[in-house]
Subunit: 389 residues, 2 copies
């Protein structure tokens, strides 16, 4: 086990009707907020009205910025920064999924920074100060509700980049599983791939002697595998929705990665896909992860055999661990297929025309390698894209 530091200060308020607490919770931090959200779904479901009512009852002045898109854009972040500065807003309330939250986080670190907020995403600067961010979560997927990171896309160059800093933890996240009853099946499935990917990026590690975190990862994966089909079958199954929502937070609140080197190559490989083709991040992960596995499993067949056995109940075969490893990868792929996700680039109509370009971009033109389970060059990344065709 490696040395580590763990701290996660986000206050999670979880359960039925909890969005009614948003006003009193926000009032602990601010009197003026930027209410930040995506499209019309929160208006259609009535969530928008309930949030506004709760904020107003707590005497909070509301400024609004809607229009966050999936793969959230830098231009809207800049608009948010401008609004906050103009009105001296010190708190951003994100209502939505990972896109709204990440956009809110980027605004929050951008406001007190004199330079271009994109500097943080190009590692030219590190955040020193931030506005505070609160969350009402509507989509279990990104884990941003209790993470210290945010991912933004710069639309003119189609660069999708992340920033990680302890200032990015939301101060609170309100999580009512009932708010996810109305999610389209495809969005539930994409969120599932994202959550499972967050766990697997931590699970596939070169670090030895990580029993507890291995088992915590397996526990969270198995919870997803059990509950996602239930939620798809009966979208109003509160208990299944609750398990998925809480698993999505545990998957990405850093606990599962403590003491171990984590990978993140699949995320890097996927980001090029969703940046260029604007597919859902979760769909991209469902395509990339099995291909990544097929390419790298020989680095540690025992770990893949353990994954097969403990997560997918693949039968022991101590004479042929490789067979077990491959059955585990097959099981993951079959699960993704069973919940309606694409697992090949062809399933989302992406052809081979830009694979080399993406492979180069993913590695900064070979300025760096991706991942740690196996360190991948642009040539490796290209092979993984090809395996995913």
């Amino acid at each position: 086990m490696n040395n580590f530091v763990f701290q996660n200060p986000t206050r999670i308020i979880f359960g039925k009707d909890t969005e009614a607490q948003v006003g009193q919770e926000t009032a602990k931090y601010a009197k003026k907020v930027l209410l930040h959200y995506g499209g019309g779904s929160i208006k259609k479901t009535g969530l928008y009205d309930r949030v506004v009512k709760s904020l107003k009852e707590a005497g909070i002045e509301i400024f609004e910025l809607g229009g966050v898109l999936p793969n959230p854009r830098l231009s809207l972040v800049k608009e948010g920064i401008r609004l906050c500065r103009e009105h001296q807003i010190e708190f951003i309330l994100a209502v939505g999924g990972g896109s709204a939250i990440d956009s809110a986080k980027a605004i929050a670190i951008g406001v007190p920074y004199e330079g271009d907020v994109w500097d943080f995403f190009e590692y030219k600067a590190s955040p020193q100060k931030s506005l505070q961010v609160g969350v009402v979560l509507t989509i279990p997927a990104a884990g941003s509700e209790a993470s210290d990171s945010a991912v933004i896309t710069k639309e003119d160059t189609l660069d999708k980049r992340g920033v990680t800093h302890s200032l990015l933890f939301p101060v609170f996240s309100i999580m009512n599983p009932e708010l996810t009853f109305t999610l389209p099946d495809y969005q539930t499935a994409c969120g599932t791939a994202d959550i499972m990917a967050h766990i697997m990026e931590r699970y596939f590690t070169p670090t030895r002697h990580v029993d507890l975190t291995d088992r915590l990862c397996e526990a969270t994966l198995k919870t997803m595998i059990l509950n996602v089909p239930k939620a798809l079958k009966n979208p109003n199954d509160y208990d299944a929705r609750a398990e998925i929502m809480w698993a999505g937070t545990v998957a990405h609140n850093n606990l599962l990665g403590m003491g171990r080197r984590t990978d993140w190559a699949s995320h890097g490989i996927e980001h090029e896909l969703s940046a260029i083709y604007d597919i859902a991040h979760g769909a991209g992960l469902a395509i990339v992860f099995p291909a990544w596995m097929k390419y790298v499993y020989k680095e540690d067949i025992a770990r893949f055999a353990q994954f097969a056995k403990r997560v997918w109940n693949v039968d022991d075969n101590f004479f042929d661990l490789e067979e077990m490893a491959l059955k585990g990868i097959e099981s993951l792929e079959a699960f993704f297929t069973s919940i309606g996700l694409p697992t090949r680039l062809s399933h989302v109509n992406i052809d081979a025309s830009r694979l080399e370009e993406m492979a180069k971009k993913a590695t900064g033109n070979d300025a760096f390698t991706l991942g740690f389970f196996k360190k991948l060059t642009s040539r490796d990344v290209l092979e993984i894209y090809k395996l995913a065709l």
Copy 2:
């Protein structure tokens, strides 16, 4: 799943040599500290010298209060409160295990309180303010290093009572598994029982649909079962010690109990034992828990069968879940025995003479019941003590 609020702000600094960071970490909060510890072991191992050196290098003025005993005493807490007030000390650094930490927490809430600090333990008052507490952990057991609770014994009446409040989270906990190499085997074993009990108090719940937390509990228990025998066989096995130490924190940082009603009857039943007979808390738990299980398992045989299968690898027997349940309890008892713990009152020379007195005391003379898996009256508690004879 029940509604819940989860927040744990404690900063964990985990790994080799991390105690060297105690000065710089403490300096973030205070210039004057009360260094609070137990007996001579930290002086014998050189830890005391390293901590003092690090604090002095960070320019921190040190006041000292040693002498914390297992089942920490109210009188020493009061001495600590007096010292802090006299010298305007605003930070307490506990170096040791749960006893030193709990004593430090009680001092911390006692200093700003005008009344008797014992009021908090009798629920006559709730803490409104607290000094800050930092920790250098030497014994994985109580989980107090990242918990919001503390347990103190009032020696004149032999009352052992706990207080829980978010003010009681330490601001940081430094955890170096190497510091546990020198623990006597019996102390490692007692710590194990305490850690496993913290998990099982959460696991045995009347709440339905708690998949994720069930599995996280099982993951943490299995980690203990795998690693404790390794640490006993080779006390300098860093990786085994690290798994145990981190499991001890995860067991009791509240994560495993979210969304479910937790029990805590066994802790209540044990507290009477260690208060009156001054046995190690972990030893008491190893005696009480199997007896409690035998008394209550019929409340939910499926849950006990799941425990048997998932934690102890007991074979499925879907025709006779009760058989599985009983094998799980046997497995726990056999494990405790295998690591050198007592599992009967007679093993620690406690006879039947005071069982009724303890059963009455544990339930406040039948003013309340204990636990939620099954709500226990003093009569039930007496039966459990008898099963443990």
